[in-house]
């Protein structure tokens, strides 16, 4: 892992003075207040914080789903803040994988087909079956979402997110809708994927215990990064007390 964090290669993603203001009529909500952030290649970062602290907004802007009011974001040499909708779509398509709390699988496609949905439009994908194997779901490849448990559905979502071999993997509350045993399986899948693909992984969670599996954890409060902790040693998901 050390060489992946080599400063010569530099950060994969970098934000400077990131600010986001939502306006709804006369009401103004300051979601982000000048966030600076960098992540190195292959780094696993956990983001904590109460609801409304700005962590989802932060992830959405980094993932090209939302735009900043001020400040800038670079993916390697690419200035995301300068991109239009078409450019952001291209960026998501080529470089970013997403995992959400509610899986968002296509119900009319099987597990394998859900993964293939992405590999069909990716430049350098892995075979869909390989992605499913990475999350331990080879046996369930021909099942439809309605036939899978929540944890299994989330693992399909992870396989779908990483099958394109993204440089960035963004997960918003991936275990939020799951019980602890299932949650651990999902986290295992995430750490395994992070190890195997070297994708820089950012995971938002409400569960503070999860930070121990990361290289680094950030705590958001009131639109800012209030605390940053680097773990000298990463725990395995099974070692985390839920």
């Amino acid at each position: 892992m050390a060489n992946l964090r080599d400063p010569v290669i530099g950060p994969v993603i970098r934000a400077e003075g990131l600010t986001k203001v939502y306006r709804s009529g006369p009401v103004e909500v300051q979601a982000l207040r000048g966030v600076d952030f960098t992540a190195a290649a292959g780094e696993f970062v956990v983001i904590l914080g109460p609801s409304g602290s700005g962590k989802s907004t932060f992830l959405n802007i980094l993932g090209g789903l939302d735009t900043a009011s001020a400040g800038r974001v670079w993916f390697r040499g690419l200035d995301l803040t300068a991109l239009d909708d078409r450019g952001l779509t291209r960026y998501r398509r080529d470089h970013v994988g997403f995992v959400f709390q509610f899986y968002n699988l296509v119900p009319s496609l099987t597990a394998l087909e859900n993964v293939a949905l992405v590999t069909e439009i990716a430049r350098n994908p892995m075979p869909p079956a390989e992605a499913l194997a990475l999350v331990g779901l080879s046996a369930r490849r021909d099942h439809f979402p309605a036939q899978l448990s929540g944890g299994e559905q989330q693992r399909v979502a992870i396989a779908r997110a990483i099958a394109k071999r993204p440089e960035l993997l963004f997960c918003d509350e991936p275990t939020g809708a799951l019980d602890s045993a299932t949650g651990i399986k999902v986290l295992e899948a995430l750490t395994e994927v992070n190890r195997a693909t070297g994708a820089t992984t950012l995971v938002i969670t409400h569960n503070a215990a999860i930070r121990e599996i990361a290289d680094r954890s950030l705590r958001f409060a009131d639109g800012r990064i209030a605390e940053e902790v680097v773990n000298p040693v990463r725990k395995a998901p099974t070692e985390v007390s839920w």
Binding site: T89, F102, L117
Partner: protein, 788 residues
């Protein structure tokens, strides 16, 4: 005023769903409008006719004869079942006006001695009736007067019985006898070339040597009288005087054409409104089902806090009734507007003194009731689902759609892109909705196919009738059948290149209990101008003795080639013979029978006679020809094929353009309504999936493409079905429109299907564009952050 919360929700739902609600309302409106138009026009036409007939004492029985003494009238009047009888002189004359170069005819009808008495009374538009003792004064028909700018006080000359007479116009009038005023030998009314003049009896008697005699009899029946018995009794009385056989209203030209129009309207009412109401019911069902699925949790909540299932079901019904109410109101407006337009077309075609387009509340009430019933029927199934759900179940989200049994494995084996797989499985998963959407779009195609075929078949009719069968440039019809010398004379008229004689013998054909009164036309066996065509459109050789019947006549008499029919000739020596049917021919106008000329003359026993001549002319000399031919002593009237065809085309083109515009608009309403609603529902269901795809890196165009492809599949599948249904409707219309007056050939070319599909596809593309904008506005983050 306090509005109950549920009612407030109805109003807000309506505001939120307005494009879908409007689409449904418009389809309902189209149903209401066609119901009102069809029923209203039918009622207007038949009521107006009935009132006109009653007020102006339209006769029930009509008979032409050669010459009968006026004393015969007393015998007719004394017949059982006769309420009133009138002896008239009715003869053709030829009007001469400076602006009239084409051949024209004027029907000269004698007026009763006592002004304003008698049958078939006139409705005076302008001026006054002629002085009964005058030898110059006439009243002319309103359409002819308008066409030539004639006013009371104007004079004109009319050639009567070969002599030119100056007449002066005292009035402009209408008569129930000539509501549809068709000139002799014509296919469409042409007020420029055909008019009616009502003339004092003595003047006509003088002109046509009929002093103390009459040539036409009209009879009004006593209530409850048996028409056929009276006709038989009249025939017995008039036969010795050259009576050609009395007929009832059914065979009176003007009445028969009105009947045909009424029957067409009746057919329209049976076909169009049910289509719209069916489609509307399907749309209501589709849209409401989706709305209820989306509001499942709210419904659970309402039940949990104590609203009764009836109240909740009533809430959704209220929404549907509100939409139906809007549709009904729009339909009322459109129906009244279209009705006024149709009344204008009638006014152009038919000469009525008044035409009130009915505002009969029963017509509107029935339309509203039927429409509400269709909308509620569509809603009931969807609302039933609300009643069944226990609150606790309703409040939890529905289980994810299970695609296991939807032919999933079949679709997995076919090499497809995943997005294509999605749309196939999605369409398959909702078979009812997919099916009804396909059916809906198919109905739009069908309406178009069923309306667009007519121009092609009219062209076919013209082609068969005028370029294959009756190829003469002009037909001269003599006032009475003449010796062959008249034919020889006509060959020497200027510009005549080819001439062929014909004999027209009115006859009654009987087979078993079926009887038809027709004209048997005799032609030379090697006729080159006026030919009889076999069903494969090849000219038929004239048999030596037998009859060739048109398909329509053969069907009406139920005879086949080889069988024999009784023939009773209705003029001359009135011979009765039995003749074999030698063949069946095609023909679209009237009921026709043909024989070889000499064979016909033998059968009638009248000797060698011709009724007229068919001619081919040198175009350069046609003006000279017309001038001479009109003045030739034997000539009764001329029929110029080019003028007949041009009038036929112009009249139909005008009406068909109006009709097709209306049908295209109606079909577009259905197509837009169905496609838009289908797309909105698909978007509502798949919005989340489509947003997920956008997050995964699918471009806006790719995501829009998925939904559009789904629409395209529905629209494409609907085409062949629509063609099939349209074909069926068109065939039924052909059957419904066919009468003894004319038959419509069924000609359906590929361009009809292509045009229908093109119009519907254009409407679908418009709906798709509206949906495409909505996909662009999908909020990616909001969709992903929430549970469905």
């Amino acid at each position: 005023m306090v509005i109950a919360p549920l009612r407030r929700k109805v109003l807000r739902d309506l505001r939120r769903l307005w494009p879908q609600a409007l689409a449904i309302a418009l389809v309902l409106a189209a149903g209401v409008a066609t119901l009102i138009l069809g029923n209203g026009a039918h009622a207007a036409l038949s009521d107006t006719r009935a009132r006109y007939y009653a007020d102006y004492r339209f006769a029930d029985v009509f008979a032409d004869l050669t010459r009968a003494p006026l004393s015969l009238l007393a015998e007719v009047s004394a017949l059982d079942g006769v309420l009133a009888a009138e002896a008239r002189i009715v003869k053709l004359g030829r009007p001469e006006l400076p602006d009239l170069t084409a051949p024209a005819s004027m029907m000269m009808v004698s007026l009763p001695a006592r002004q304003g008495a008698g049958l078939n009374r006139l409705h005076l538009r302008q001026g006054r009736l002629p002085d009964p003792l005058s030898t110059r004064e006439v009243v002319i028909s309103a359409d002819f007067a308008t066409a030539h700018g004639l006013q009371p006080g104007d004079g004109m000359s009319v050639v009567m019985n070969g002599k030119r007479r100056m007449v002066s116009i005292t009035g402009i009038a209408l008569s129930p006898e000539f509501i549809y005023a068709l000139g002799p030998g014509e296919m469409m009314p042409d007020p420029r070339r055909f008019g009616i003049a009502w003339v004092p009896r003595d003047m006509l008697a003088g002109a046509f040597d009929l002093e103390g005699a009459f040539s036409n009899l009209v009879v009004q029946l006593a209530p409850g009288a048996d028409e056929s018995r009276v006709i038989a009794a009249i025939d017995r009385l008039i036969t010795p005087y050259g009576g050609g056989g009395a007929v009832g209203r059914v065979d009176q030209v003007s009445h028969a054409f009105l009947d045909a129009e009424l029957r067409q309207l009746g057919a329209m009412v049976k076909v169009l409104p049910p289509i719209f109401l069916l489609v509307a019911a399907m749309l209501v069902h589709m849209t409401l089902s989706r709305l209820i699925a989306l509001e499942r949790e709210q419904i659970g909540l309402l039940k949990a806090i104590g609203y009764s299932p009836r109240a909740i079901a009533g809430h959704y019904l209220e929404l549907v009734l509100l939409i139906a109410g809007c549709g009904i109101l729009i339909g009322f407006g459109a129906g009244a507007w279209l009705g006024a337009g149709l009344a204008q077309i009638y006014a152009r075609f038919f000469s009525f003194p008044f035409l009130v387009f009915t505002r009969d509340p029963a017509v509107y009430g029935l339309a509203a009731l039927v429409t509400l019933a269709a909308a509620v029927a569509g809603a009931l199934q969807a609302v039933r689902a609300v009643l069944a759900l226990p609150p606790a179940v309703a409040m939890s989200p529905p289980a994810p759609a299970d695609y296991r049994r939807d032919g999933g494995h079949l679709a997995a084996r076919i090499p497809l892109r995943q997005s294509q797989r999605m749309l196939i499985r999605h369409l398959w998963h909702w078979p009812l909705r997919t099916g009804s959407s396909i059916l809906g779009v198919a109905m739009a195609v069908a309406i178009l196919v069923a309306s667009l075929w007519s121009p092609g078949s009219i062209e076919h009719m013209i082609d068969v009738t005028f370029t294959r069968a009756d190829r003469q440039d002009v037909r001269i019809t003599f006032a009475t059948a003449l010796a062959p010398a008249a034919f020889a004379d006509s060959r020497h008229l200027p510009g005549v290149m080819t001439a062929e004689p014909f004999r027209a013998a009115p006859a009654r054909l009987t087979k078993g209990s079926r009887t038809k009164r027709i004209v048997i036309e005799g032609r030379p066996s090697d006729a080159r101008l006026s030919r009889v065509l076999a069903p494969d459109l090849r000219p038929m050789a004239m048999p030596e003795a037998g009859l060739i019947l048109s398909e329509a006549l053969a069907e009406a008499l139920d005879v086949r080639p080889g069988e024999r029919v009784q023939v009773e000739f209705l003029d001359g020596r009135r011979a009765r013979v039995e003749l074999p049917v030698s063949g069946i021919s095609v023909g679209y106008v009237g009921l026709g029978a043909a024989m070889e000329l000499q064979a016909l003359n033998r059968a009638t026993g009248d000797g060698d006679l011709v009724s007229g001549v068919n001619l081919q002319l040198d175009p350069a000399q046609s003006a000279a020809f017309l001038a001479h031919a009109q003045d030739a002593p034997g000539t009764s009237f001329l029929t110029v094929s080019d003028l007949t065809v041009a009038r036929f085309r112009a009249t139909l083109a005008e009406n068909i353009t109006v009709m097709i515009t209306v049908y295209v608009a109606l079909a577009a309403i259905i197509a837009v309504g169905v496609v838009y609603n289908f797309a909105r529902i698909a978007l509502s269901e798949q919005g989340r999936e489509l947003a997920s795809l956008r997050v995964l890196g699918f471009t806006r165009a790719e995501v829009t493409g998925i939904l559009i492809t789904e629409l395209a599949v529905v629209v494409a599948l609907a085409q062949p079905l629509g063609w099939l249904i349209g074909h069926g409707i068109a065939r039924a219309m052909v059957a419904a429109f066919s009468s003894d007056l004319y038959r419509v050939p069924f000609v359906m070319g590929p361009q009809v299907y292509a045009t229908a599909s093109l119009v519907v596809c254009a409407a679908a593309v418009l709906s798709a564009l509206a949906i495409g904008r909505r996909i662009g506005q999908l909020d990616l983050i909001a969709v992903l952050k929430t549970r469905e």
